[in-house]
């Protein structure tokens, strides 16, 4: 049981460390890292390389943004298998709809209740 959590910590932590090292040692900034991670997740999933990482690291692989790419790609492939051509267009967004909608919804509510910090 504990070893499972250790795997999660290892995979999730390493994904963050790689991003931190790239930001520290190249001119890439954080916003670009996020894009790189999502696209990397999509590409690795397409090549079948990310599924083993998810098997091994579980939430450690799905919670970082590469996992967002993984969900997009996996959703697209599954939708294509089920619905054919339409799946190309519906799969990605359907698979990530809950996360995106939660972020928009909670973000909207937060903008109503929370005041921005006073601008200097």
């Amino acid at each position: 049981m504990l070893i499972e959590y250790f795997k999660v910590l290892l995979v999730g932590g390493l994904l963050c460390v790689i991003a931190q090292l790239i930001v520290d040692h190249t001119k890439v900034v954080s916003a670009q890292i996020l894009v790189i991670y999502v696209v990397a997740g999509v590409l690795l999933t397409s090549m079948g390389l990310y599924e083993p990482i998810v098997k091994y690291g579980q939430s450690g692989a799905t919670v970082p943004l590469t996992g967002f790419g993984y969900a997009l790609a996996k959703g697209t492939f599954e939708a294509i298998d089920e619905q054919g051509f339409i799946g190309i267009f519906s799969g990605g967004l359907s698979a990530t709809a809950c996360g995106v909608c939660a972020a928009i919804g909670f973000g909207f509510l937060a903008s109503l209740v929370s005041k921005p910090k006073a601008k200097v």
Binding site: Q20, A31, F68, T76, I80, G92, G99, F108
Partner: protein
Amino acid sequence: MNINKMPEREERLRSVFSEIKEESTPKVDSFSRSLRAFIVGGSICVAAQVFRGYVENYFDETEAGIYTTIMLIFVTAVLTSIGVFDKIGRFAGAGSYVPITGFANSIVSSAIEFRSEGMIFGVGALMFKVAGPVIVSGIVSSWLVGIIYFFMNFKR
């Protein structure tokens, strides 16, 4: 104000700004930044795994994953609203923005920040100022590999 003086003023402002930036940037070496990213990022994933394990008692695997994502985003939204997430972010660096929490934080903090510009042109238009590229690049790339996948599997 003399308009010709503007470039000069700007130049001066820039130098002052870069000085302040230099002073306020914490002098932490790359190793400890990576260590912090590892600990915080890894811990967020472990917390998600614990929550997921608990939820799996009541829902199937896919649903448990969705509830975990929603929980992470909700907690991030609350922490961002009360200003705690900023502090975590400053400490953890990539450890806070690589997990889905960073995605949520970028949307929630943009929504809060641009509330002053109105509901439509502020919140509505600028909520995805930071997270937009992530969504666009993710959708476009998965759409493209979807097209390839479709023609590889259904051509015959």
